[in-house]
């Protein structure tokens, strides 16, 4: 993956898309092969160690703490910055500017947020550590199209700031639209890969393949 680009992973259910992200983040160990981050091997590292190397992970669903407030969740997002109080304060201010919806509800418990707001919080929380690589799993799952669009806008903004994004998505049209380079995987193997332009022109065939799993 090139720095500051979006790489999309698409494929049918059970293809191993989420498994790929979980392996990169260290929840799973690869049976073979290497995972390189800035030239250093990270396979076999525990999740907390991967996090400290500058990787963020927006999991499927919302990995937020429902009983805590929006602001507390963001503080937890910045957990590994422990002692850098001032930096956390700045990052928090930045999050409020970037996500005005959340700023309006900073003292609300996360459980009272709508699905879209929860997803935004999840994104904002990962942004608190300014990751160099962001893993994003199905950002559009279960959300209204209008909200989905906003989330993709956020991801592209992050990319423009230089964040590298690895995106897993069932929403093929959207994935092709925002990714610079894509992989179609099936049963754990890469079936097709290429830059967006190639994928866009082959969309029909891809969607058919992906749906029928042929």
């Amino acid at each position: 993956m090139e720095r500051g680009t979006v790489t999309g992973i698409i494929g049918p259910n059970g293809a191993g898309k989420s498994t790929l992200l979980r392996t990169v983040f260290g929840f799973l160990r690869p049976r073979r092969g290497r995972i390189l981050l800035d030239g250093g091997e990270i396979q076999g590292l525990a999740p907390h160690a991967v996090k400290r190397r500058g990787v963020g992970y927006v999991t499927q669903g919302a990995n937020i703490f429902p009983q805590l407030t929006v602001e507390e969740n963001l503080h937890l997002g910045a957990w590994i910055l422990k002692r850098e109080r001032r930096r956390v304060g700045e990052l928090l201010e930045r999050a409020w500017t970037a996500f005005p919806h959340l700023a309006a509800r900073r003292r609300a418990r996360a459980t009272t947020l709508s699905g879209g707001e929860a997803k935004m919080l999840s994104l904002a929380k990962e942004a608190m550590t300014e990751p160099a690589l962001l893993l994003v799993d199905e950002p559009s799952a279960g959300l209204a199209p209008r909200i989905t669009d906003q989330i993709y806008v956020r991801l592209l903004e992050a990319r423009d700031r230089g964040v590298t994004i690895l995106l897993v998505d069932q929403n093929i049209a959207k994935a092709v639209e925002v990714s610079d380079y894509l992989y179609l995987i099936e049963r754990g193997r890469v079936r097709r890969e290429g830059p967006r332009e190639t994928f866009a022109s082959e969309m029909r065939a891809i969607i058919r393949d992906s749906l029928l799993g042929a």
């Binding site: 160690a49 996090k51 992970y57 990995n63 703490f65 937890l76 997002g77 590994i80």
Partner: protein
């Protein structure tokens, strides 16, 4: 709340019950000592199961390990009792570390099964190695204060229970407490946050094992006779019952529950094993109807009282 205030409350709590042995019979003082012993066990188990969400079934075993280690060391090598107890605590913590390393990657039910298997193995080992441990014959241990009279032991256990309560309260209010609760609520989200979940789960396991060994070690040198019987699963069940009835995940829960159940258990001594059935029913009722336990009930009553006072004020002012 700061440490100084918590310390103040702890001392107040101690003073509030310090007069009890002067007005109670030795038998009742003994019951209080055993209650305090269970308070320490219940606080430790609540730290592990309630705060960190790791449902271990070997807590009573660590108390037994503390007691047997100390007794055997003192009997065979003649070290002072305090050294024996310290050795028991170190051994329990070390075994907790090893057991934690082996088991804590397992999820809920597997962790419970693995710790249960460990507990039974240790108990059987002590039972079978009777040439060394005297097994079911019972192992006589020297008494800490040289006398079986309970007065002095009451103050010892009161001080221990208060110290443990203060230390654990301090712990759950710290960053580490936040780590533990995050792991309990959503281990994956905690890991995504950057918490080394395995390390902290194991730390909670080691701390709770060490606390259990402190309680077990001292109790052994008060009772003066060890046997593998209190290492049976019944004992673990009692600890769970105490914490659940008092209020799992609340800080005062295990304290209230341990004292309540131990005293109730003594009151109903004539009922024998039927008590366990009664307690089991009690647990079912609490879990089904009011998971926050006695402490939650108390807090709700307090809120209700404040609310009704508020309503009364509003009505009066009209």
């Amino acid at each position: 709340m700061t440490f100084a205030r918590r310390l103040g409350w702890t001392v107040c709590g101690g003073v509030a019950v310090a007069w009890l042995p002067w007005v109670s019979s030795e038998y009742h003082t003994h019951v209080l000592i055993v209650s305090l012993y269970y308070v320490i066990l219940a606080i430790g188990w609540n730290l592990l199961a309630g705060y960190a969400g790791q449902f271990s079934l070997a807590h009573h075993t660590f108390a037994g390990i503390g007691a047997y280690t100390s007794a055997l060391l003192v009997l065979h090598t003649g070290v002072p009792i305090v050294v024996g107890i310290a050795a028991g605590v170190v051994l329990a913590a070390a075994l907790g570390y090893v057991l934690g390393t082996l088991c804590l990657r397992m999820r809920a039910i597997y962790l419970a099964l693995a710790t249960w298997a460990f507990a039974e193995s240790v108990r059987l080992l002590i039972q079978v190695e009777y040439q060394f441990t005297r097994g079911d014959l019972g192992l006589r241990t020297p008494l800490l204060f040289g006398t079986p009279r309970p007065m002095a032991y009451f103050y010892l256990f009161l001080a221990l229970a208060l110290a443990v309560a203060l230390a654990v309260r301090q712990l759950v209010g710290s960053r580490i407490g936040t780590y533990l609760r995050a792991i309990r609520d959503d281990e994956e989200a905690a890991a995504v946050m950057g918490v080394d979940t395995f390390k902290w789960k194991r730390a909670a396991f080691v701390i709770s094992a060490a606390l259990a060994a402190v309680a077990g070690g001292f109790l052994g040198h008060y009772i003066g006779l060890l046997s593998p019987t209190p290492m049976k699963f019944n004992e673990m069940a009692m600890i769970i019952i105490m914490v659940v009835v008092g209020g799992l995940r609340t800080f005062p829960g295990p304290i209230v529950g341990a004292v309540f159940i131990e005293i109730l258990s003594e009151q109903l001594r004539a009922w024998g094993e039927i008590r366990m059935v009664l307690f089991a029913l009690l647990v079912l009722v609490v879990v089904r109807a009011y998971p926050a336990g006695l402490v939650g009930l108390g807090r709700a009553a307090l809120r209700l009282k404040q609310a009704s006072r508020g309503v009364a004020r509003v009505l009066r002012d009209r």
